[in-house]
Point group: C2
Chain length 493, copies 2
């Protein structure tokens, strides 16, 4: 493994290549033989499961319930909402037949032409249409509202150029869909879910994010407002990590979802939708990891502590087995997931490199001398710092260290990002500097034309109008026209 590790490209050499290699070498995911679709391997899936469990609890705290809606959507549903069809009906997988039959030479199968569907079905790229078509039957009175539903599922958007976790044809996600009696309530819900995403990203993933609202061009197809959280990767590019949409009455009208209000008058329901996906895995990997491999936040690490005995003789290992048993028990009792790796078919050096590659936050190593001295060597993955400590009280120390690592990697990522947020008022200056990455706060005249010009000339896009910064009017850096506020511009994934 020490040898294999040499094959992990350095970030400074080729950041993109480093990422692609890391995802595969750390056993997170791999390409499948099905174009654009990935296999999420057990270690990668274990991280995703922790994300799911945490987010699911956070959603339920706010009254959301899970449900499940069909994978396939009738083609005609997509056309119901005019903007939505423009955004989603293009690159999607189309089911046209429901049967195969044996071929004439009896050595394979062919599509049975007799089993053609009357109406083609689309594999869901997102489920607003099928869900609002269902909500029609669930919503009659204001008493049925709010309706707060979420589903964890797979979706598919045909992609020509894919990258593991960041852009794949099939991906896993959650999509929340809510219906409300008033515009205000729906807008607040969309904002509330954005805050939950931001909280999850910062507290669990240790990824600092900027919250804001998208420009009209960058909105979800069919939304009146799209809220976003944007994270900065180590190459200075932005990664859109979660979005929450205020959909107005667009889907209510398209699917005729009306309710009787308190005055017994019919009104169209107000909608939101919001989602995060396995793309979060990409954000997690790219924010913290280094040239030795993954760095995982303790809150989401499948293995938080690994314990490795050194000293080759069986009786030495047996002595370590006995010495660490109470430590393992104590850690488990604290709710800390610990792996004791005393396998005799791999050398300690191999194990060290492998657990570093996999981002295990804390490593304990014990050899014969440690047993004599009652000590243990402890290493933290984030800084790679080692120290030798007394074995007595080590569990409590590990617990504190895990908290410290969680805070430290967030602080590190935040410092990195904050040092790369620039106010910029000069377009020539911007064009030059944006090549090196970073988030640029610039005045914008609010037109789609200027937005398109910036994108075409610099490959950077308006990520959002950020919340939480003091805004003063100014002039657009490109056109010199008046601008109400600065927007966040960056190259992105």
């Amino acid at each position: 493994m020490a040898k294999e590790l040499d094959f992990l490209t350095k970030r400074s050499e080729d950041y993109s290549k480093w990422y692609n290699e890391l995802v595969v070498k750390a056993d997170l995911a791999e390409q499948s033989d099905v174009r654009g679709c990935m296999v999420i391997k057990p270690y990668g899936y274990a991280i995703w499961e922790k994300m799911q469990r945490t987010l699911d609890d956070m959603f339920k705290e706010t009254g959301v319930q899970n449900a499940y809606f069909p994978l396939l959507i009738p083609k005609s549903f997509l056309s119901r909402e005019a903007e939505h069809v423009e955004g989603f009906a293009k690159e999607c997988a189309v089911v046209t037949h429901y049967r195969l039959k044996t071929n004439e030479t009896h050595d394979g199968v062919i599509v049975d032409p007799a089993a053609r569907l009357e109406e083609e079905l689309i594999i869901r790229p997102t489920s607003e249409t099928i869900i609002w078509n269902t909500f029609k039957n669930w919503i009659h009175s204001y008493r049925d509202l709010p309706l707060l539903v979420n589903q964890w599922c797979n979706v598919m958007r045909w992609e020509m150029r894919t990258r593991l976790f960041l852009r794949t044809s099939e991906f896993l996600w959650q999509e929340g869909h809510t219906a409300h009696a008033t515009r205000e309530e729906a807008e607040l819900r969309a904002q509330q879910m954005l805050k939950i995403y931001a909280q999850f990203a910062e507290e669990y993933m240790a990824v600092p994010v900027i919250q804001g609202v998208k420009s009209e061009t960058e909105r979800f197809a069919g939304a009146l407002d799209t809220y976003t959280i944007e994270a900065m990767m180590q190459d200075g590019k932005a990664l859109q990590s979660g979005t929450s949409h205020f959909l107005g009455q667009n889907f209510g009208k398209a699917f005729e979802v009306q309710f009787l209000n308190k005055e017994n008058k019919p009104e169209y329901a107000w909608a939101t939708s919001w989602g995060v996906s396995t793309r979060l895995m990409g954000a997690l990997i790219m924010t913290h990891s280094d040239d030795n491999g993954l760095v995982l936040p303790p809150a989401l690490a499948p293995i938080q502590v690994v314990i490795i005995p050194i000293g080759g003789k069986p009786e030495q290992v047996a002595a370590v087995d006995a010495a660490v048993a109470p430590v393992i028990a104590e850690l488990k009792q604290m709710g800390i997931s610990v792996k004791y790796d005393n396998a005799d078919n791999k050398r300690p050096g191999f194990k060290f490199a492998d657990y570093e590659l996999k981002g295990v936050p804390v490593r304990l190593v014990l050899g014969a001398r440690d047993l004599e001295n009652g000590t243990v060597e402890i290493m933290r993955r984030d800084t790679l710092e080692k120290e030798t400590r007394s074995l007595a009280g080590i569990a409590e120390y590990v617990k504190q260290l895990l908290d410290d690592i969680q805070k430290n990697i967030f602080a590190k990522a935040k410092a990195f990002r904050d040092a790369r947020i620039y106010e910029c008022n000069d377009y020539e200056d911007f064009k030059e500097r944006v090549k090196d990455g970073g988030f640029f706060l610039c005045h914008w005249d609010g037109t789609a034309e200027t937005e398109a010009k910036i994108k075409e000339e610099t490959q950077a896009t308006i990520r959002c109008v950020p919340f939480g910064i003091e805004q003063t009017p100014g002039v657009d850096m490109v056109t010199g026209k008046p601008s109400k506020a600065r927007v966040l511009i960056a190259r992105s994934y």
Copy 2:
């Protein structure tokens, strides 16, 4: 609701209609506008989530890890394993195109003929092929084995006649796939997973099951042995509730999954696969429920206890609010999920009927007189028995009652089933009696011809060769030929 409840058909009138109505009225699931695909509603999904969580923990206890494999499978993969293609390549959803485009009249979308896939893709009906195609890259040495993987996902098998939960084109399930170095280890794993399914069915679902092995005709396509758990519904029919397959080296050979054994010689890996699906919801509903609605086992009920205040005046309700607050806190601390329904827009009678319909195991009712007397009325859903008890110590009593209900509904279902298991040696007698349902233990000569004759003449099938019964040789009840063992025959879902 009392009125609506009258619309729930009685089981004695039409068992099938009762089931269909109950699933919809209890808010478990409904048909979608997509042919054969269901919507699982929040209340139904909450039960499924509890099943998932419990099973997932049981799998992980045995070393299984979750992963995720692609939804779409290249058509040619299905042809690799000769029997598998016969079983699964027939009724499946076929993706032929990857793009839609706007139609000529600009009011809809059509399939873009230019976006035809070179090779058609199938929506997974089960994932042995894509998973073993992946395992090929994961397995090189005996050190890589056993490989124990599971995925929770959606699958699709095109069905012409569907019933909610029991038979739908799309359904949710888990599919475990394991690879082993020896035949013995794989066979033991297949049997181990069957035992876990049986344990889950009996301990959590309170559904007694018969474990056994399928006849060759009824085996999974590509398996050497299919193990099954069979449950009896209240109409005496069998419901196959979970299967575990020993696949031999069939998929190892079809996908060239070889490993170097300890002697450094190449061998094909041995396989198992095993699955349970949302069909378990059907088993749960049909085993316990009655003419008033669902009866849920406390271990899987989303709401275990409901508390309802009676007495219409606001100050009376406020007094109940105050009195039950400590009870609710105590129940929650015991890990019991409790709902306090003091909504003022529904009458108590409506609430009573609704929570009965939804199968909430225990109901507490408090009115003004109860507050004076320090009492509470407690009803258990399984027997509908009511009693009035002291409010002091009620939480502890509820906890014991929930345990008692869990045991009681299992015992009731087991007594029902055991009274309908018949040894039968006469085919004429069998033909007459099987119409009324029940499990028949009959001698069988082991031929597919006899099996087909029974099926054709009685619509009953050999469910399994049951484990755990004493077997003595005899003569086939149809042909009079020698028989080694009795098999379980029944009509089934």
